[in-house]
């Protein structure tokens, strides 16, 4: 059907193929006014949302901090890349970024592989212990890290002997329970007809998962990847506890250390702190910009009606 191929957007209502029961002109006017409102609201919201980040960027480029209203608009005389140079000299940004990457990458791997399997099993399959596992997952989501921090540290640093290792950093985060929850939710949203059809054709569960379910939950997969990435990327407390060697510390930890130590002793500590923060944020934003193109409709309707 052609209708399922049209673009998303308010323009839909004016599709010429479709009988329109109301006055076309007023609908068009209403839609345009409506669109302006939406765009206006979005734009205002975006400005408000971005403002602190913009402020951060500007301050990181300033030579000396300017806290007044005028400081929000950078004056050319005050701009410098010095802060970035300084923070690199203090922290060895590349090594720290690499560590952050390994940490986040390990967590992503564990979550995407085992989390998907777990979410699928919890959503679709009946097996003994499913209820218990679901409760356990919920419990893990609810319990705050500080409650389990010291015993967890003892477990990993002493009993497993993984202090100062990448594995020790990754292990508590290896399978993100929020992601598992999300996978489960989205698998549940898939229509049963698809799976019934697959079963009738004699497909095994794994085959069903791989060929049918996975492609349909791509937005969920992408969402889960993005949010799973952020956790370890910005995580400070756990890597701080588990690593002492500076060469192994991810950027979030190095930056936080830098903040606590150097605040009092640099000319513009504020600037170099924010420079580090911008460096920390850029890969995550970049990843999002890359992936969000894939948040398009999967045309589920046509797949079922077919």
């Amino acid at each position: 059907m052609t209708a399922s191929r049209t673009q998303a957007g308010p323009g839909n209502e004016q599709d010429a193929d479709r009988p329109v029961p109301v006055n076309v002109a007023s609908v068009a006017q209403g839609a345009r006014w409506h669109r302006f409102l939406v765009m206006g609201a979005l734009f205002t919201g975006a400005v408000v949302f971005l403002f602190p980040f913009y402020y951060m960027l500007v301050a990181s480029l300033q030579r000396s901090p300017n806290m007044s209203v005028g400081g929000a608009f950078p004056s050319l005389g005050n701009l410098t890349l010095d802060n970035y140079v300084k923070i690199n000299a203090a922290l060895n940004l590349w090594q720290a970024l690499l560590n952050s990457g390994i940490f986040a990458g390990g967590v992503l791997l564990g979550t995407v592989v085992f989390g998907v399997l777990g979410g699928y099993a919890l959503a679709m399959l009946h097996f003994r212990g499913r209820g218990v596992l679901f409760s356990a997952m919920l419990l893990v989501l609810v319990v705050p890290f500080q409650l389990s921090m010291i015993p967890l540290y003892v477990l990993i640093a002493r009993d497993y002997g993984l202090g100062d290792t990448y594995l020790g950093m990754i292990l508590p985060f290896a399978i993100n329970s929020t992601a598992v929850f999300i996978f489960r939710q989205y698998f549940l949203q898939l229509p049963s007809e698809l799976f019934d059809a697959a079963r009738i054709d004699g497909a095994s569960e794994l085959r069903t998962l791989w060929s049918i379910a996975l492609p349909l939950v791509r937005p969920a997969l992408l969402t889960a990847v993005l949010l799973t990435f952020i956790g370890p990327w910005n995580e400070f407390l756990w890597p701080f506890l588990i690593t002492k060697q500076q060469s192994k510390q991810p950027l979030a930890v190095s930056l936080a250390n830098y903040i606590s130590v150097v605040q009092a002793s640099t000319a513009n500590p504020y600037g170099s702190i924010l420079a580090g923060a911008v460096v920390l944020a850029v890969p995550a934003v970049g990843l999002f910009v890359l992936f969000q193109r894939h948040f398009v409709s999967t045309d589920l309707g046509s797949g079922v009606k077919g």
Binding site: P65, L122, A123, R130, G131, V132, F134, S135, A136, L139, M149, I150, Y153, V154, A157, R158, G163, L188, F240, L241, K244, Q245, Q246, N257, S260, V261, Q263, A264, S265, A267, P269, Y270
Partner: protein, 436 residues
């Protein structure tokens, strides 16, 4: 059927699983440690931690190099730990896991009772020359660092006697004599502070951190209390010492400063003295390396109720010490290294490289050349002989948190009556100090 919310039966099953797991796992507790007597005389490689600010790193590297060259079979490996809020948490967690090093050159005296309770610290008095070495080097002040059983679980290392820095240029601008400002008594201090702010020379007169962390009272209340009482600690013999007229006077002094907006009650990012937000700072000599290029500074002792001469005034020590920790297997080497790094020569290096005062008797005469070349530091060296440490008492952190909570409520935010707050805090602290 859509999997429904697990029923109560499933919750029960989960609880049973967890309970079973925890019984099994807690039954297999931690492993035992090595025999104590062997470790005390063993020699071999050791690991140490020191703090990660620039100057201490420089000192740390040179002392480790000097030792390693002379002792090829007893190599010392050094790592940095971050200073600041979380270092005690890191050490505590490391003690529990048994991953802490032999020596940590960043042990806060306030944390020592807690570490001792954990069984994480080695009794330095158990070494043959332990007590004598410590008391010879540090003199009378050493007693403040002994634990309740009279033994030393920490080596007093360096102090940063807290004094008042003032910005000479701002004072000149406000019409105050920069070489001899009147900051000796509470009244004089208040008048000077008001003058500075009213004249527009600075937005604030002084800006101690107003936040609620347990250690912040060490930089507003405690130095003045030490001065006012001629060297009393917050708690002594299990009883709080601050619910007295002197303590009340100090509290009221600060209350007035906050009430008249001479100090800010919001957290300030960065150093307020260095960036010109405040005309004065209450801090120790480590800050000199920070201020020297930015501020034309002078220094005076902390104010007291009535005029006192400088050689009578006490202050807070802001000391950082060295602890020897339980996981150490080569304690013989650790003790030798500890003595080496606190020798007269190495203390001199510490002084030169960091500007902080080694906790050693008679600093002005021992390092006379240094102070002749760096007269800025001489005042601090003299002050270092009269410092007061945080009390070595059980529940030390909790005690300071209770005090700080009362302080922020009554003094900084003016929400409760000062006398009442002090009394309540005193009774709470008496309970904590008495509880083992």
């Amino acid at each position: 059927m859509r999997p429904s919310r697990p029923s109560r039966r499933c919750h029960g099953a989960l609880a049973a699983v967890l309970a079973g797991a925890m019984v099994v796992l807690t039954a297999c507790g931690g492993s035992g440690g090595a025999s104590a007597t062997d470790a005390a005389t063993a020699h071999g490689p050791i690991k140490i931690w020191y703090s990660n600010n620039e100057q201490e790193i420089a000192w740390g590297k040179q002392v480790v190099d000097a030792w390693n060259t002379a002792h090829p079979t007893e190599q010392v490996t050094a790592e940095q730990i971050p200073t600041g809020k979380s270092s005690e948490d890191v050490i505590g967690a490391a003690i529990t896991a048994g991953t802490e090093p032999c020596l940590i050159y960043n042990t806060s005296p306030a944390a020592v009772p807690g570490f001792q309770k954990q069984g994480g610290l080695i009794d330095l008095s158990s070494f043959a020359d332990g007590t004598s070495y410590i008391e010879t080097r540090t003199g009378d002040l050493a007693k403040q660092y002994a634990s309740t059983d009279g033994h030393y679980y920490q080596m007093p290392w360096k102090s940063n006697p807290v004094m008042i820095f003032y910005n000479k240029d701002m004072f000149t601008k406000a019409g105050i004599d920069p070489t001899n400002p009147s900051l000796a008594t509470y009244d004089e201090f208040l008048a000077t502070a008001k003058k500075v702010v009213d004249s527009g020379a600075a937005p604030f007169a002084i800006y101690p951190a107003p936040s609620s962390e347990f250690y912040q009272s060490w930089f507003d209340f405690y130095p003045l209390f030490a001065a006012a009482t001629g060297g009393k600690q917050l708690v002594a013999d299990g009883k709080s010492q601050f619910n007295t007229p002197e303590g009340l006077a100090v509290a009221n002094f600060w209350k007035q400063i906050y009430a008249e907006k001479l100090a800010g009650n919001e957290t300030h990012t960065g150093d307020s003295f260095a960036d010109g937000t405040a005309a004065m700072a209450i801090v120790g000599p480590w800050a000199i390396s920070v201020y020297k290029d930015k501020v034309n500074w002078g220094v005076v002792p902390v104010p007291t109720a009535d005029v006192m001469t400088a050689d009578q005034i006490h202050t807070f020590s802001d000391a950082k010490n060295v602890g020897m920790y339980a996981s150490c297997t080569n304690q013989g080497t650790a003790w030798d290294f500890l003595k080496f790094s606190t020798s007269q020569e190495q203390d001199g290096q510490l002084l030169t490289l960091t500007g902080q005062m080694p906790l050693r008797t008679d600093l002005p005469t021992t390092y006379a050349e240094y102070f002749a070349a760096n007269p800025d530091y001489k005042l601090f060296a003299e002050q270092a002989a009269r410092t007061v440490e945080v009390p070595n008492t059980p529940n030390s952190v909790e005690i300071w948190q209770a005090f700080r909570d009362a302080w922020t409520s009554a003094v900084i935010f003016g929400k409760s009556d000062v006398q009442q707050a002090l009394t309540d805090a005193a009774s709470k602290i008496d309970q904590l100090a008495g509880r083992t």
